[in-house]
């Protein structure tokens, strides 16, 4: 396969990617274009839902502006959406062709958690134990705090990678073999006699213990060594614990005792050649891959049983679909252009899909930026991207690049170009891929604002960094005119607002720290943070629902009292009253929620929450609590939790209840390990207005921009090494036929946790695998910085911790020359407030100096900084009305309640008809019979042939299950009797059967509407006659009268409504009793 028709567009940050995508799509569809394609032939895949909304919106707008209305209308017929939405649509359209279940239910939960569940259900207790034992020998991924090792992590990682790379479970054992062989190659050859080594160690341990104990010089280091020897003895009692060997091989004492441990260190250092270590390691690797294999199989079964698919299945299914001849034919004839956005972030399996789509559409445009490939953890593979880029150029495709930057002011564009041309040069990026020209005009008003800022943080740890950064933001906001920015909407220069500032950090924990520090200074923060259920509004929702379910929940009641202001009392009075009356004093909320409790029997969980909010006027409470904007917005986040709960119940096909919702609340507020961080899931609303400073991770900042960006965490040092589950490939080039071929998973467990600096690490670093990882890591760190640096529109601040006169810039230093020299030189010695320069060096030797404003920021505790007093404002509400509301709709059959002011009619004449309707059975269901009689009288239209009348009667009697109870001809006879009566009384009247009537009724509380259907309305010259059929068994006149009285309000309502129809009055109202055979007059 070649890449003819495929264009890769390199779109550097801020280069107008969406503009280009829209342009290409419009050019293809616009009927005024050269070779327009049908809208249905467009496939446009975006990375996010937001991206999709933006792209679809722009395309529609342009089409309308160009007068292409039909095309704009048809846009929903095109495949425009996220990759998942596109796959879902393909699967739904072609499920039966592909032999899949048509109900494509996508599992909502985090796939990792499901994989783990499947794994644990499939592993036997013996396998479990074996893995435990092996892991214990290596203290695999040891967590000292909870004293547990973890083999589940690598097993899950292998399972996830296998799924994302379409690796069959059966292929995993071979990968275990390759992994083991690779790892063991890093060790010296095993010795022959393992038991001898054991013996030697035990012996040496004993003698060293004696020697060291007797020589104990009282120093802390020797004390620790002695304790270590004691622990080691215990640990070595059972199976070999390899970390103990490693630990002993590096044991330290005071200088005076050093000689006592020399021999022990030597003996322990032989662990690397211990044959049992080699066997154990091999066994561990195999056991882990085997567990992953079992888990993957079980996961497939689990999904099949539940008829659900996960995201990878969806992609996989779509991929398989595209091989099906019928689907290929159909799509091949339909698709004409495939546009892929954010192409660099696609996972290998997505890439395979896009290749296939290109094959069908024959024309594709893939827009992306290799420099911004930062979602490796989410499955993107930068190495693969590089290979694809090479393949496109070499096999007939074209490459294009967007070389203008519309986002940042010229100084920043130049600086970033200079910096990253050099930084990326050693990672195979050509100058023209990186360098962009500024296209945004620079207003003069920004001249006195240096493009760079340097915040030297005088801090000793992350929390203090956060305080210092927060103080910097506060300083910015105290004098907004000193940092003017260009308004994105109006393009006018204006003073800084909180929402113009974004602080980028590396981890979620840092996000919380910075947000906390800002919050403490009274600065609103837009940040994704948990803790929703711990807020006043979360507490209110939780307590109210608990109290609704159980009135005896005195704790919930007290909490509601407390957060709603103790019913207007002070807290002492409240508690004193509570002690006096344990049932609790009555409060406003009790009455309000009492009404909700009355309806709890019909409310769904989310409706119950809505009713709680409505009853308690939660929005007004929230507007009165501190930080009202956040409080009010969080109500929506709580409703989202309830919706999420119900969605999950639907997915799981389980029940959903208020108790279940409360449990969901508990689960959401519990902190769990997500990726590398322990986080809760009860996320609060993230404000999007310009009154809140944005704090987010570098990853989340992708695709966004702000006037002022503060880059933090620049000292981030953690790096991945070869001892992680890692995708590998044996194929240096990209194979479009099989993009995922020759991919495999390598896993080397680190065998000596928690000890790190051992010869094995050095050997691993020097290995090919280690070098590859290091290079990947280096590249990723540079790419992430590229994303950070290119977010700023007007002013870019580097927040750097400075300790003992040295900057802590381990991450920043990855921006280096080929020789490894840092490219950035920061004026860290400049005094506070000074205008200085940031120097950007280049390999060529030419440097650039960029003006920078330097601030020195201390980590003053927030408590000393008084937040400005809050003013609570809200939309004005009118004074309370004086009367209760009335129902809008009046149903005639319920007129007694709905319309009490209606004058009640009286009974009048009673006319027996010649006969009633004989019933052939003793018992009859009169409601069913009534429907049949009604049905017939409605259908017995004028001029129907007798045979048809009988046929209709028969059909209705059969359908009502009344055969043997009423003969069909009885219906016809009853209708005839009515006709005779009517013709005698109102000759020549026009019959209107089942006629709807509606009328507006004025009331002191506003207009009301009465509406219903009159069974039979006779229109005479003098006016209307209303006839209502009632089927009931009574045959005596007294019974008729008694029955008719029940219907007086209904007839009165009809008559009253009819009177309002201009033209005619009501001259009669009658109740027709077909079964008893009579007519009763109602005088309305």
């Amino acid at each position: 396969m070649n890449a003819h028709g495929l264009t890769i567009v390199g779109a550097s940050a801020g280069s107008g990617k969406t503009y280009r995508l829209t342009k290409d799509a419009i050019a293809a569809i616009d009927p005024a274009g050269e070779h327009p394609i049908a809208v249905e032939g467009l496939l446009a895949v975006t990375y996010t839902k937001k991206g999709h909304a933006e792209l679809a919106g722009r395309i529609r707008e342009k089409l309308v502006a160009a007068g292409a209305f039909d095309e704009a209308m048809r846009l929903p017929l095109a495949y425009v959406g996220t990759v998942h939405a596109t796959c879902l649509r393909l699967l739904q359209e072609f499920a039966l062709d592909a032999g899949l279940s048509p109900s494509v239910d996508v599992v909502a939960e985090d796939q990792g958690a499901l994989l783990r569940q499947a794994l644990e259900s499939a592993l036997s207790m013996d396998q479990h134990k074996a893995l435990d034992d092996l892991s214990a020998r290596f203290r695999l991924r040891w967590n000292g705090r909870i004293r547990r090792h973890d083999w589940l992590g690598p097993v899950s990682d292998i399972m996830e990678l296998a799924r994302g790379n379409r690796i069959a479970p059966e292929a995993l054992p071979a990968m275990a073999e390759r992994s083991a062989a690779g790892l063991l190659r890093l060790f010296p050859a095993p010795a022959k006699d393992g038991p001898a080594l054991d013996k030697a160690l035990v012996k040496e341990l004993a003698s060293t213990t004696t020697a060291l104990t007797s020589r104990d010089d009282g120093t802390a280091v020797t004390r620790i060594a002695i304790e270590l020897l004691g622990e080691a003895k215990k640990e070595l009692d059972g199976q070999g614990r390899w970390f103990v060997w490693a630990e002993l091989s590096t044991i330290k004492t005071s200088v005076s005792c050093a000689s006592a441990v020399t021999k022990l260190r030597e003996v322990a250092a032989s662990y690397e050649t211990h044959p049992r270590l080699h066997t154990d390691l091999r066994a561990l690797i195999f056991a882990i891959f085997e567990a992953a294999r079992i888990g993957l199989r079980a996961y497939q079964d689990w999904k099949a049983q539940r008829h659900v698919v996960d995201y990878v299945d969806m992609l996989d299914g779509a991929l398989r679909l595209l091989d099906h001849p019928r689907v290929r034919d159909e799509l091949g004839s339909r698709l004409r252009l495939a546009v892929i956005d954010e192409f660099q972030d696609t996972s290998p399996i997505q890439l395979a899909l896009f290749v296939k789509l290109h094959e069908l559409a024959k024309r594709s445009i893939w827009v992306g930026d290799r420099k911004q490939c930062i979602f490796e953890y989410a499955g993107a593979d930068p190495t693969l991207m590089d290979a694809v880029a090479r393949w496109v150029t070499s096999s007939g495709g074209t490459r294009d690049a967007l070389r203008q930057n519309y986002r940042s002011r010229p100084e920043l564009v130049h600086a970033c170009s200079a910096l990253f041309v050099s930084a990326l040069a050693r990672h195979d990026f050509q100058r023209d891929e990186v360098e962009v020209a500024p296209a945004r005009p620079a207003p003069q008003a920004l001249d006195h604002l240096p493009p760079f800022g340097l915040w030297c943080l005088d801090a000793g740890n992350k929390l203090k960094d956060a305080e210092a950064i927060a103080s910097g933001v506060q300083r910015l906001l105290q004098n907004p005119h000193a940092t003017p920015v260009v308004d994105r909407a109006t393009t006018a220069v204006r003073p800084l607002r909180p929402g113009d500032i974004a602080i980028l950090v590396a981890t979620n924990a840092e996000t919380s720290a910075v947000a906390g520090a800002l919050h403490a200074r009274g600065i609103r923060v837009a940040v994704a943070r948990a803790g929703l259920l711990g807020t006043p509004e979360g507490t209110l929702a939780d307590a109210a629902l608990r109290w609704l379910l159980d009135e005896d929940d005195s704790l919930a009641a007290a909490v509601l009292d407390a957060i709603t202001g103790y019913g207007g009392q002070d807290s002492d009075t409240w508690l004193a009253a509570r002690l006096h009356d344990p049932a609790g004093p009555t409060s406003v909320w009790r009455d309000a929620l009492g009404h909700v409790r009355g309806a709890l029997g019909v409310l769904s969980p989310s409706e119950a929450l809505d009713e709680v909010f409505a009853a308690l006027d939660a929005v007004h409470l929230a507007a009165r609590w501190p930080d009202p904007a956040q409080r009010v917005a969080n109500l929506d986040a709580l409703r989202a939790l309830a919706l999420h709960y119900e969605d999950r119940c639907a997915q799981e096909r389980e029940a959903g209840t208020v108790a279940g919702l409360l449990r969901h609340f508990d689960a959401m507020r519990t902190e769990t390990l997500r990726r590398d961080e322990v986080l809760a899931s009860d996320d609060q609303h993230v404000p999007s207005d310009d009154g809140a400073v944005i704090v987010c991770t570098y990853h989340k900042a992708k695709g966004l921009e702000w006037p002022v960006v503060v880059l933090a965490s620049l000292d981030r040092g953690e790096r991945r090494n070869a001892f992680e589950v890692c995708p590998e490939t044996d194929c240096a080039t990209f194979n479009p036929e099989e993009p995922l071929a020759k991919r495999w998973i390598r896993y080397w467990p680190w065998p000596f946790s928690p000890i790190k600096n051992l010869p094995l690490l050095t050997a691993a670093e020097a290995s090919d695998e280690g070098k590859r990882i290091a290079l990947r890591e280096d590249k990723e760190r540079v790419r992430l910085l590229y994303v950070g640096f290119t977010r700023a529109r007007d002013h870019l601040v580097l927040a750097v911790r400075v300790a003992k006169g040295k900057p802590k810039t381990e991450w920043l230093d990855t921006l280096s020359t080929e020789r490894g020299d840092p490219l950035l030189e920061l004026p860290i010695d400049a005094p506070d407030g000074a205008d200085d320069v940031v120097r950007i060096h280049a390999d060529s030797g030419q440097g650039t100096a960029m003006p920078a404003r330097v601030w020195r920021l201390g980590s003053v505790a927030a408590a000393s900084v008084a937040a400005p007093p809050e003013v609570h404002r809200w939309f004005k509400r009118p004074a309370a009305p004086t009367s209760d509301p009335l129902r809008y709709r009046i149903t005639p059959s319920n007129a007694r309640e709905d319309w009490p002011e209606l004058a009640m009619p009286k009974l009048g004449e009673l006319v027996p008809l010649p006969a009633g309707m004989p019933i052939d059975a003793k018992t009859a269901a009169y409601d069913v019979l009534g429907d049949a009689v009604h049905g017939f009288l409605a259908a017995d239209g004028d001029g129907l042939a007798s045979i048809e009348r009988h046929a209709r009667a028969h059909r209705l009697i059969v359908a009502a299950g009344l055969i043997g109870i009423v003969r069909p001809e009885r219906l016809v006879e009853a209708a005839d009797r009515l006709r005779v009566f009517v013709e005698a009384r109102w000759p020549g009247a026009t019959w209107h059967r089942e006629i709807p009537i509606e009328a507006m009724i004025a009331s002191p509380r506003g207009a009301r509407r009465v509406s219903g259907t009159i069974d039979l309305l006779l229109e005479t010259r003098d006016g209307y006659v209303i006839i209502d059929h009632k089927t009931f068994p009574g045959t005596t006149e007294a019974a008729w009268r008694a029955k008719t009285v029940e219907f007086l309000p209904q007839l009165a309502a009809y008559a009253e409504a009819l009177r309002r129809v201009a033209g005619k009055g009501v001259i009669g109202c009658w109740v027709h009793l077909p079964v008893g055979g009579g007519m009763v007059e109602v005088i309305a």
Binding site: K49, A56, G57, V64, G67, R74, P76, L77, Q92, L96, L100, S101, H128, D132, L152, R326, D329, A489, T491, T535, A543, L549, D550, D553, A562, I563, T564, L575, P582, L600, G601, V602, E611, D617, V619, P626, D627, D636, A655, G656, R663, D666, S688, H872, F875, K876, R877, P885, Y888, D931, A939, G941, R952, L956, H992, M1000, G1006, A1057, V1061, A1062
Partner: protein
């Protein structure tokens, strides 16, 4: 009759008729109403076949056909019901488009396969909407009536876009004398010198290419407004305040999420517009899925809790609440707590029923009461205690019996209860009974049962959450229901995703060609989309004064973008320029900050402080006088000397959580299970067995305990935890046994009730283990899960509970000596003690329990004194003084008093929202 019929007119509509004083014979109908009326007039019985009946029938037809090569065969194998559902939907769409059910010449294998299923008529398929249209057409054609059924029908949507079957009906009606016309609403529009007028002008000229390229000038005169805000909550308040201030007629298009708007209207004293919610999750409808879940092992304690606390469920009220408490404490069914609570329930029921019957003069009160108790108890047994199905699945007959039982129960409820509450649930139980009766599978796994329930039975049920009130503002759910002009139109929830899209046609070109030849024609999707766009435009064109679009940034957590019509408006008005957009946009938050042009009145409101973290509460009266020495516990004593406020809230104000308490988990559950294990092993003398036999008993008893009292560990996701826990507990039991032997102790009693006299009254409690050595000397062993915490408590002289137990045991002893005492840490299997007499492998350095007790007593006395003065100190608010300082204990004496660390008491405290600790970051 003169009908107005449109696709969007089934619900609330806004037509020229809406404000008419009165009219007769001029209804406004949607498609379903028209069809039903036609049937009524043609004498056709009502047919409301549910999917739950039609899908299994269609499935039975497919299953009957031996067609391994059919295009759907593989899917049918994977998901029979789902495939049947999809094929039936295709079939219905074909029938509605004119298919007669016979083979289509040249239609290909897919259409042939459908024709084959359709031909399998020995299994009757109840009528769907398409079949009803066909039936009405046939009857209309053959009717002998000479009078037209209706005088006029005005169609809102173009006649050509109605389905083939509808078009056939219209033709037949026309033949019989009915006049069919297409309705063209008349909208005068806004003055052309307003922003809205200009937009309307542009919209009206939509069909031609815009000749005047220059966009009109948008002034921001308020006739066109885009209200932006963070969430519907604040926008609802803004919208309601605007509606309240406008005196003219307004129409609200409520496309999405009307709950916040309804609440806001109410608060602004505007009449309710009424709201109907549709949901799968109505309480009575959960009885069936919950009961079905509990028909399988392992039974999820959380599900048990849900069934017990379901507001209209079989156990609501006292019984449910009591059993729920048992399950929260010991998650499972049939454990110690469950049994105890059940006995309690029986006693209470017996007493109350006997009293009731006796008061009512029953001669046989005791026997009748007993029968009542037996009936209630048997319900517990039947619904909750009967063993569930295991790995092999549940036999069909079992599930059928269960469905029937629930149906009967719901039927009884329905007889006396509200149909709105029980009606839909009963229909579901009936549907499941039907489906199971038609099933061919002999057994069902839990997943099968869930899938069956989901595919066949589950349906949303509508419920009126609020009713329309007199004087309410007009409203519609979709702009297609707008056919008359009004002053203001508010698009509430003007967001993408609310537009309706035509269903995708699954047929390819060749198939469509063959279908067309056979007279089966689908409406053009593009034209259907254009009709939808027309409907949205009508919302704008209908306004005479202003149009307001309300767009929140987020709605129930999901990011929202404006409705696609906004793109069109931008294009028509040339609003590419952001400044122009800003002129018509108002942000709720800016309005609240009183920035920009005034739109609605903003007032300053009184802030509401959250409970402040006070250092001391002053209740002004003696909090001990009410003490009737009803007894206290060691835990209460610990609270008293750690945080007096927490003590008052719990022991005096009685603040406790209710039936939905947190289910025991983690260390708490682990500890409880281990306690119970030791208890059971003791009662069966297992500690005297040899190691191997002891191990075997430990395993067996623990397994049974987990099932009955720790069933959360059996749930999916619990196996890793369970495996590690079992290992840990097993190890701990061995260590305990080994320790007892090596230290020369035996267990004399478990859970023995004891009392201790303290300065603040009598403490009651139970000793986990009373040990006895060979000489008959007693010792206390208190079982705890963790290690570090209790080690620290002992080292710092803070182990109040252990000291209290030792004191309790001491008071039983004749010599008044302090007995030795220790904690046994189950997680590590270690004995923690400061007393060498415990003969533990290691003795910790720390004050004796006697000293601890004396210190505690001193603090308790001081706290008591403060409480007697009505002063209640708080442990850990920012303003709180260290307790001893607050109690005025001189610095020099601190060593002889007990003092906990500042945060320790808050760790498991339930009152931070009341004492204010929770809000210290919020003030």
């Amino acid at each position: 009759m003169k009908l107005l019929v449109g696709w969007g007119l089934s619900g609330p509509s806004f037509t020229p008729h809406t404000d008419a004083t009165a009219r007769v014979g001029e209804p406004t109908w949607g498609r379903s109403e028209l069809l039903r009326d036609l049937e009524l007039r043609l004498g056709l019985p009502r047919e409301d076949a549910l999917a739950s009946v039609r899908v299994p029938r269609w499935y039975a037809r497919i299953a009957k056909l031996p067609s391994p090569n059919a295009f759907y065969a593989k899917s049918f194998e994977v998901d029979p019901l789902g495939t049947a559902q999809m094929l039936l939907a295709w079939r219905d769409a074909l029938i509605e488009s004119g298919w007669n059910g016979l083979r289509i010449a040249g239609g290909g294998d897919r259409l042939d396969a459908l024709a084959a299923i359709e031909g399998c008529s020995e299994i009757a398929l109840p009528l769907g909407t398409a079949d009803r249209l066909v039936r009405a057409g046939l009857n209309l054609r053959t009717s002998s009536s000479k009078t037209p059924l209706y005088d006029d029908i005005a169609l809102v949507e173009p006649r050509a876009l109605w389905s083939q079957r509808w078009q056939q009906l219209f033709s037949l009606l026309e033949t019989s004398g009915t006049r069919i016309v297409e309705m063209r609403p008349d909208f005068p529009g806004a003055p052309t010198d307003t922003d809205l007028g200009r937009l309307q002008q542009r919209m009206r000229g939509e069909t031609r290419r815009s000749s005047d390229k220059l966009p009109p000038r948008i002034t921001g005169d308020g006739s066109l407004l885009l209200l932006r805000g963070e969430t519907p909550a604040e926008l609802a308040e803004l919208t309601a305040s605007l509606l309240a201030s406008w005196r003219d007629d307004a129409l609200v298009i409520r496309s999405l999420d009307s709950a916040p708007l309804e609440a806001a209207l109410l608060r602004h004293h505007l009449p309710s517009q009424g709201r109907t919610g549709s949901s799968h999750w109505r309480p009575a409808m959960q009885v069936l899925p919950l009961a079905l879940e509990l028909a399988f092992e392992p039974r999820d304690p959380y599900r048990v809790l849900e069934l017990l606390t379901l507001p209209v469920g079989p156990f609501r009220g006292f019984v449910g609440s009591m059993l729920a408490k048992a399950v929260s404490r010991q998650p499972g069914i049939g454990g110690q707590e469950w049994t105890r609570r059940k006995l309690g329930i029986a006693d209470t029921l017996r007493q109350s029923e006997t009293r009731k019957l006796t008061e009512a003069g029953s001669a046989d009160a005791a026997a009748l009461a007993e029968a009542h108790v037996a009936e209630r108890m048997s319900r517990i047994e039947e619904w909750l205690e009967a063993p569930g199905a295991g790995k092999d699945g549940a036999p069909r007959a079992t599930l059928l019996a269960l469905a029937l039982r629930i149906r009967t129960w719901l039927q009884q409820r329905l007889a006396t209860g509200d149909p709105d509450v029980y009606g839909a649930a009963f229909a579901q139980a009936q549907a499941l009974t039907d489906a199971l009766s038609n099933e061919t599978r002999a057994t069902f796994s839990r997943e099968d049962a869930r899938h069956l329930l989901d595919t066949v039975v589950r349906a949303a049920h509508g419920h009126a959450l609020s009713v329309e009130c007199a004087g309410r503002m007009a409203h519609v759910a979709h702009p297609s229901a707008i056919l008359a002009p009004t002053a203001s139109v508010v698009f509430w929830g003007f967001v993408a995703g609310t537009e309706r899209r035509p269903a995708l046609v699954p047929w390819n070109h060749a198939e469509l060609n063959a279908l067309t030849t056979a007279g089966v024609v689908f409406p053009d999707s593009g034209k259907l989309l254009a009709t939808e766009s027309d409907a949205w435009r009508r919302g704008v064109l209908a306004a005479r004064q202003r149009v307001v679009f309300v767009v929140p940034s987020k709605m129930k957590g999901a990011a929202m973008s404006p409705h696609p019509m906004w793109d069109e408006i931008r294009a028509r008005l040339g609003l590419e320029d952001s400044a122009a957009i800003e002129r018509v946009t108002r942000h709720a938050q800016s309005l609240l900050r009183s920035e920009g042009p005034v739109l609605s009145s903003i007032v300053t409101i009184r802030p509401l402080a959250l409970p402040e973290g006070r250092g001391e509460w002053n209740l002004g009266h003696d909090l001990f006088t009410s003490e009737d020495d009803r007894g206290s516990s060691a835990t209460a004593l610990t609270t008293l000397v750690s945080c007096p406020l927490a003590w008052v809230l719990r022991e005096r104000a009685g603040l406790r959580s209710g039936a939905i308490a947190k289910v025991a988990e983690g260390p708490l559950l682990n500890g409880r299970l281990s306690h119970r294990l030791v208890e059971d092993l003791f009662w069966e003398n297992a500690f005297d067995l040899d190691e191997e036999a002891f191990g075997a008993r430990t395993d067996a008893v623990l397994e049974a305990l987990i099932r009955a009292e720790g069933a959360t560990l059996l749930l999916p996701g619990g196996a890793f935890e369970r495996a590690q826990l079992v290992q840990q507990i097993r190890g701990a039991m061995h260590e305990l046994r080994r320790y007892l032997r090596s230290a020369g102790f035996r267990i004399a009693s478990v859970e023995e009730p004891v009392q201790a006299q303290s300065a603040v009254g009598t403490l009651h409690g139970r000793l986990d283990l009373r040990l006895m050595d060979a000489s008959g000397n007693d010792a206390v062993l208190d079982l705890k899960w963790g290690e570090v915490t209790y080690q620290d408590l002992l080292k710092s002289g803070s182990s109040v509970q252990l000291a209290a137990y030792a004191q309790a045991l001491r008071s039983k002893m004749s010599d008044g000596r302090w007995p030795p005492a220790a904690y046994f840490a189950l997680a590590s299997g270690r004995v923690l003690t400061v007393d060498t007499r415990m003969k533990a492998p290691q003795t910790l350095d720390g004050p004796s329990l006697e000293a601890t007790w004396n210190n505690v007593e001193r603090t308790a006395v001081a706290v008591k004194k403060s409480l007697e003065q009505g002063r209640v100190f708080v442990a850990a608010t920012k303003r709180a003084l260290p307790l001893l300082k607050a109690l005025d204990v001189s610095e020099a004496d601190h060593a002889t008093y007990f003092a906990s660390t500042r945060e320790a008491p808050c760790k498991y405290c339930e009152y931070p929202a009341i004492c204010g600790v929770a809000w210290e970051g919020f003030q």
